[in-house]
Amino acid sequence: MTPLAAGTPIEHAGTANTAARAPQLVFDHVNKAFGRSDGSSALALADVSLSIDDHKFVAVIGPSGCGKTTLLRIANGLIAPDSGTVSVKGRPPVPGPDTGFVFQGFRLIPWATVLGNVEFALETLDLSASERRDRANTYLELVGLTRWATSYPGQLSGGMKQRVALARALAGEPQMLLMDEPFASLDAQTRELMQIELLHIWNRRKPTVLFVTHSVDEALLLADTVVLMSTGRILEVIDVPLARPRQLDAARSDQDFITLRNHLWNRIRDLVLTDPASAFFGRELNQ
């Protein structure tokens, strides 16, 4: 077994704070614990510091339960940290159309139509009913669901539901997009198409993206920066030195890519093997 590679010190992604504008998202020594029913508490985030610049696509990767979802919820202002500060454009985060959240498991309103689901996200914006409808339709078109506007979520496939959730998150034209394992429940084919689609969409307006995934390949295909987490801590922040547009097939022969991919793979494997909560804890899995 390879010993745990010593984590590179937490480097602030893009410390180019020389730019006049405040970074899009800053976590500064953030802690968050959740109380358990037995009175103990689970540390979800431990001393997390992270700075993400505008227009960056950041992937967050790490074993289950390491605090990825908590990171996104705090970034959206849905929950507050126990200590430390979080700021979005220099201010504490407030939920609303300026930040789009694509949840794990879609979270569509089952009794609202596809169009209604997208419109629901626009009601806090100062739009007339017809403007709201037009906007929702625009984003449904963007994700290719115009034909399904009057359908209900229950009539859609998983991939289509995911696209509705994406349209809903995008329709507010957010500065920041938070995505929690958005493609985890999709089959390989749909997933690949959705990744390409997401990059297309991202290229149009370049919102800052915080994208949680379990897949190293997905992270390397999509992200400028990969954040590796374990048990509530950020272990590494790695820039992905691949030119865009990326193609995984082509990148597979690129030496930098291979090194990076192997590195991430090994780290995650070691994390899982040394995590007492994991099913693989203590196993010797040598290739």
Binding site: R73, T99, F101, F103, R107, W111, A121, Y152, P153
Partner: protein
């Protein structure tokens, strides 16, 4: 529950209507067989019942009884709905209010409501007010308890989604919580409708005898079984009409389930 039937083959409305009519014919045949085999005219024949219905109708008793009963029933049920749904929603919306009242609601709903009838008679007399109150008291509990449960079980993930798009409390409540509670409310309405109908008959028997319940007592006590059967069938018909109406409303509201 709706999806369970969908795993089976869906038959056309015509087929279902045909099999239902076939079953009705079977029931009538069994009824007729019972009527000629059970001694002492305890079970009237279908034909005798039909003639009895004609007599009751031409005397105007059937219409009068039906009108009296339906008036009591719908008034009591309607008042129950007007009380139970807002109260259940409020109990679900304001946690402390709900947790304070729920124990009393459960206690009251576990008490046999017939126990209150003497008290109600003392307070409200034997007239229509007492009857309506008895019906209301029976119907109100299932509607209240189910509405409360429906509001409380609101999906926390959907609520968080709504918060993330910037929805305030009121919008979350009206757009996520209340629509999510509707299936529960309908279950409560259906239970309330059944109990309300039972209590209509109970009220008509225990207070001033009137309506279909009153006719039931008169014909039952005098062994006029053909007339008695007419009344029983009438009550069954009211039950069917009300629950079918609720089912239609439920299907309207639940169109998204298809």
């Amino acid at each position: 529950m709706a999806s369970a039937s969908r795993t089976n083959q869906e038959y056309s409305a015509l087929t279902i209507a045909a099999t239902r009519i076939g079953f009705l014919i079977l029931l009538l045949a069994l009824w007729w067989l019972a009527s000629i085999n059970v001694a002492r005219n305890i079970i009237p024949s279908p034909l005798a019942t039909y003639h009895a219905a004609g007599r009751l109708f031409s005397e105007g008793r059937l219409q009068q009884g039906l009108l009296d009963s339906v008036t009591v029933y719908l008034s009591g049920y309607g008042i129950a709905i007007l009380i139970a749904i807002p109260l259940g929603v409020a109990m679900g919306a304001f946690n402390l209010f709900g947790r304070t009242l729920e124990i009393y609601v459960y206690a009251l709903s576990a008490t046999p409501r017939v126990a209150f009838i003497p008290l109600i008679i003392v307070l409200l007399g034997l007239g229509i007010e007492a009857k309506v109150f008895i019906v209301m008291l029976g119907a109100v509990m299932p509607i209240l308890i189910n509405t409360y449960a429906g509001v409380r079980q609101a999906d926390p993930e959907l609520i968080e989604m709504a918060r993330s798009v910037g929805a305030g409390r009121l919008r979350i409540f009206s757009r996520i919580v209340i629509p999510g509670a509707i299936p529960y409310v309908i279950v409560g309405l259906r239970l309330g409708a059944t109990i309300g109908l039972i209590n209509t008959v109970v009220a008509e028997l225990y207070t001033a005898v009137s309506g279909l319940g009153g006719l039931l007592a008169i014909y039952g006590n005098t062994f006029r079984m053909a007339e008695y059967f007419v009344i029983v069938l009438c009550l069954a018909a009211i039950g069917v009409v009300v629950t079918e109406s609720l089912r239609i409303i439920e299907n309207r509201l639940g169109r998204w389930r298809d």
